[in-house]
Amino acid sequence: MNITAKLTMAIAALAATSAAAFAGPEVVEGPGPEPECFAPWDESTKYLQWPAREGPYRIAVVNGFVGNTWRIQMIQTAKAFAQDPSVADKISEFKVVSTGTDAPAQLGAIEDFINQGFDAIVTIAVSPDGFDRVIRLADREDVVLVPFDNVLDTDKVMQVNEDQLEMGRTWARFVLKELEAQGKTSGKILEVRGLPGNSVDRDRSVGIHEVLDASGGDWEVVQVVGNWDDGTAQKVTADAIAVHERFDAIITQGGSTGVVQAMIDAGHPFVPVAGESENGFRKLIAEHADEGLKSISIGQSPGLVAIAMKAAISALEGNPMPQLISVPLPVATYDELEDGVNYWSDLPDNFFTVNEFPPCGVNISGPAIMAQTEEDVK
């Protein structure tokens, strides 16, 4: 009797410890709520489910690098979204910190918020690897960790991003369509790439080449590296034009304003350009579309942070969520541009125009919050 009692206790204790070790989300069958907003990445994407808990929740955003327009716009969007009537009463406490490009500091901040008992932590990872420890701790404490934009190489956490491969494919498809309208099935295309060694740069370029190769046309692609930066992109585009004299189209991953500026400065005739979502780029498209700058603009939106927050809240409410959420690409072509709607002629060039995702109820326009003062969005 005594022995069996002891044995049962030991087994119970063992079960308790193993349950503690394996706490965290359960892998379940989809579909989840709001599929138009929380779309699974592909058919193989699994669904994660956390135990439902009572709101309101405590949510933290742990940013890494801070100091460019995109990141500042992202932080402002996060603050504004936390005040949005659709989620405001579900959030009891909201904190944002930026740790700089410092992996121990970012990991430390995440762990600190776990220790403080926050319910969800949204983050842009400074490195795609190295988060094993905080993931383990988050699972142990049932904290929902949501990396977005720069995501992790793991399938153990829920992540939010735009499909970079599809972005590359859409750019290439648009350019091919415009060239076909001109009667061209072969020619020379300039590809301005992003930051070398980065997975986003790799995926976008792979998407571009996939479509070009599949088209069957005889395309000569000239690659230059523009680092997603207007200054660099402008310089390398000018160099490429000086060497090759004439391109039939340009596909750039970023620094799009600089690319078009280089084209204008070199007296290069306007050709279709596929690029990012900078306000300056869209201003130039609107101005010169009639002269041949028939272009497409797709953006990696700072508004992703709002979707990551929304996904975190949905997970805390106990909904099954796709492990990898694919946010629809915000696309605008030259014939869709409208001043004051999807670009702003009275605002600086370096704004990122896409900030809203109507299917997700994220209706915070980037330029609107950037134009406000600190006090207004508090």
Binding site: V66, K79, S98, T101, A103, E111, S127, G130, D153
Partner: protein, 349 residues
Amino acid sequence: MRLAKRLHSAALRNRAFLGALLLFAVFYLVYHMLHPRGFSSAVLIQNTNESVAIVFVAMAQTLPVLTGGLDLSVGAVMTLTNCIASELLTGTPAEMLFGALLTLACGAAFGCVNGLIVVYGRIQPIITTLATGAVAIGLALLIRPRPGGEVDDDLSWAMTNTVFDFAETYGLAEGGEAAWLQPFAAIPVPLLIVLAVVLFIWLPFRNTQMGRTVYAVGSAEGAAYMSGLPVERAKIAAFTLAGLFAACAGLYLAIQTSSGNADVTQAGAYTLNSIAAVVLGGTSLYGGVGGAIGSLVGALILRVISFYFRILAIDPLLQPLIEGVVLLGAVSLGALRTLRVKNRLELFR
């Protein structure tokens, strides 16, 4: 009476260090009081984990500064050794131990090369290390063009937690339940690692003739040379030890993140922060005064300031500004004594 006098003079000599220690103690105590789970082991583990890398890099920076130089490669050496360790810390325990030692040896060797170039090439340390730092980043990118690595999971978990978790992971001391272990069970392993490096490497080194020569070179190189001290060897030793400490940071970073990442921006940030930590800890940038323990405290002050942003509601875009102002205030405290100086010549000391 004599003891009191000696204590008083020791306190006067270490005024800057004691000031830094007091500042840190105040900052850290208030942080724990404000933290919802203050004074708990979990918070202490998190704090130490976050601080280890910057503490080691600050200790590394101290030695070249003591000789009157500056080492701009410490962050890069940390990144290089981080990448090396991410390749080597797998396999059997013996292989991992060998990998760790090899990582430390690489760092020390890199530092030694710095020292040799400075001494025999007769090039300013700041220029030498600017160049070798770029070389270190280049090597790091060569070893690990993409972040990643297969550092042993158990090792990572055991080294970044308490002594109890360490024992439990490896089944030592009856899985951490042994009675004799209990007094130490809640101590974070990273804290012990830093203590071990201070006790078994820094303090013995400082008390050797070589260690004292490092200080002598910093205060008056000519006098040290005329006194027959091994000036050249001391400089090489200082840079070698800097490389070793930077490698400790890289090794711990690899264990902590179970990966390596040739992050150029992070390397630069750590180098700059190490200089700030050295100054905060009371080491003079002119050399000859201070020590690695002061820099350790300086690094902790740097870290504790940012801890506050997580428990107080401060606007995210104002945080860098506030951090800068607090830092400036902390450094200025060290300059307060200049207000009381009677003879202006004393300012030049």
